[in-house]
């Protein structure tokens, strides 16, 4: 039973990270039907920013919770600025272009950002400080669950809840939903669509940065390439849950995390990806729009 619980919690942690990144994919897709391949790179840039800030601040003698919050905050702001800029440079000029063009632009942006960080920083793996300290009350169960895992799971839950509330009740959230339903109509009714899209990119990037900071602190190392695999997995999670759906992204992330964890635990880690992507194929056969996705007919 202990073993099951360990795998369950391990999968939950992994799934939470996938979910945090998947939210960005799903929000952007929901609004402008673009798969933002550069999203994984935002996650990576968030982690790098936090590393640089944390190194500088710890030199100045800061530590503990304030260090985590400050480094995380700078990472979120910096990554959001990147997300905003990427949209303005790479996607906005292509908004009227055929759908393939922004997709290619997104892939180009992803490769550009990877190489930019590779040149500006390093190709080596870097050590990432454990920003999340071990809590004392976690000591008795630390062999099953570590403090950083608890923080990751809680952060994901809180972020998702706040995001859902924001989209449901705030003015901007309402405008986002309107834009997602019909961009032209929303524009005609006075919604500033450009602003809505920018806000979407900013929020999505911020969430990815949170994910980047938390998981890097959890596993203790980063390099310029970490965004690629995390991005692919998160994208899979978004598709699994139903791309465009916010609860779907979270559910998809969790299911993917659990599948990988249990496949490793009870079968073999050799087949981790086989099970994860096999499940994806299986679900898409029966629910082509993903678990919580609504299949909509093409708008005329």
């Amino acid at each position: 039973m202990d073993y099951f619980l360990e795998l369950f919690l391990g999968g939950l942690t992994r799934g939470s990270i996938y979910a945090l990144i998947a939210l960005g994919y799903t929000m952007v897709y929901g609004i402008i039907e673009l798969i933002n391949f550069a999203h994984g790179e935002i996650y990576m840039i968030g982690a790098f920013t936090a590393l640089i800030v944390a190194s500088a601040l710890s030199l100045m003698g800061m530590s503990g919770l304030s260090l985590l919050i400050l480094a995380g905050l700078v990472a979120v702001i910096y990554s959001s600025a990147y997300g905003y800029t990427i949209e303005k440079i790479a996607y906005k000029p292509l908004r009227q272009a055929p759908r393939l063009s922004p997709l290619i632009s997104a892939i180009g942006m992803s490769i550009f950002l990877q190489n930019y960080v590779l040149l500006a920083q390093t190709s080596d793996f870097l050590s990432f400080p454990a920003l999340i300290k071990e809590f004392e009350f976690m000591e008795p169960i630390s062999h099953i669950m570590r403090s950083s895992e608890l923080v990751i799971i809680l952060t994901t839950l809180v972020s998702t809840a706040l995001l859902t509330l924001f989209i449901k009740f705030s003015r901007t959230g309402k405008a986002m939903r309107a834009t997602a339903q019909d961009k032209t109509m929303a524009m005609l009714l006075g919604v500033n669509v450009n602003r809505v899209i920018s806000v979407t990119f900013i929020i999505g990037s911020g969430l990815a940065a949170i994910g980047g900071v938390l998981i890097s602190s959890h596993i203790g190392q980063i390099n310029f390439y970490i965004g690629f695999i995390a991005g692919i997995k998160a994208f899979t999670a978004a598709v699994l849950g139903g791309i465009g759906s916010i609860p779907g992204a979270v559910l998809g992330g969790m299911i993917l995390g659990w599948t990988e964890s249990f496949a490793t635990g009870y079968v073999s880690s050799d087949y981790e990806d086989v099970f994860a992507f096999g499940l994806l194929v299986f679900i898409l056969i029966f629910r082509p729009a993903g678990i919580l996705g609504r299949s909509t007919s093409e708008k005329v």
């Binding site: 795998l7 942690t13 596993i219 695999i229 249990f262 981790e272």
Partner: protein, 370 residues
Amino acid sequence: MKRLIGCLMALSIMLFAGGVYAADTIKLGVPGAHSGDLASYGLPSANAAKLVVDDINAKGGILGKKVEILQEDDQCKPEVAANVGNKLVSEGVDVVMGHICSGATKAALNIYNDAKIVTMSPSATNVDLTKSGDYPNFFRTISPDDAQAALQVDFVINTLKAKKIAVIHDKGDYGKGLAEFAKGYFEKEGTEVVLFEGITTGAVDYSAVVQKIRRNKADAVVYGGYHPEAAKIVSQMKKKKMDIFFVSDDGVRDETFIKVAGEYAEGVYATGPIDTSTNPMAIAAVEQHKKVYGSEPGAFYLNAYAAVLCLLNAVEKAGSTDYDAVTKALTTEWVETPLGKISFDERGDAKGIGFSMYQVRGGVYVEVGE
């Protein structure tokens, strides 16, 4: 027709000349890749042979005879290597230092074996060449592909006294290859391998694998792969309060591993090549190459240098080029070479070269030896 006869006559004269020549020189065959894509693997060995032979001839040769080099190009191609082998045998070669590539070596070895000619490769690492026992005439001055695994298994069983082993690898050619060798040797020694699994490189975390290692109650982990994944696994094991041995390979014996894993790297074992850079003979051999050829020596230069020294020393000690006497001398005599003091085991692998066990102590890798 006249032309053909002319050719045949020319050939027979050449052959005859070879036969006459054999009496007063010791013929060292140096086959290898000297042209084509892989020439950079073969040419340094040919250079090494020339330098050693020139030295020896300047001192009057061995057994009162000069040493003569028969250099042949096999381009690392097995079919060419077989032709080269036949040619060398027909020219009456006494000992062979080559070939370079494992495939080419294998193709030519039967020919030398049938002709009872001792062959020593500076670079062919294929395990079967020695382990199969098919080629009693074969020796080498480089570690076989499984050398690290053999050392790991020996160390885990005899020094660490671990009973239950988890063998983990990264599914890559290098990591999985080593892990499979290690698993095989553990099983041969009767030590239980409780877990044998591949992990996905670059995955977000490895907590499930770490839990599985704990569940199987392994008391040592042998990991085949590179340092980024090793650092993640080691940190996660230590953070989950698992205090078991972690033994890995030269992909992990890297400063970056210690830098990234930090305090968690402490106590980790890894095999790595024995350091020859401070060996005075190695320094002298490199200097000699720079002086004569005006460049840094390339791949397998020191291995070839050592191979030629061992071969010629064996001929001298044997007192002749007789096959049995030379093989006996190779397995009994220890020779000072740029790779250190070496001899050969009965299968033909060199003793005293290759890999050593290192452990992270105080933030640096320290050699722990056997």
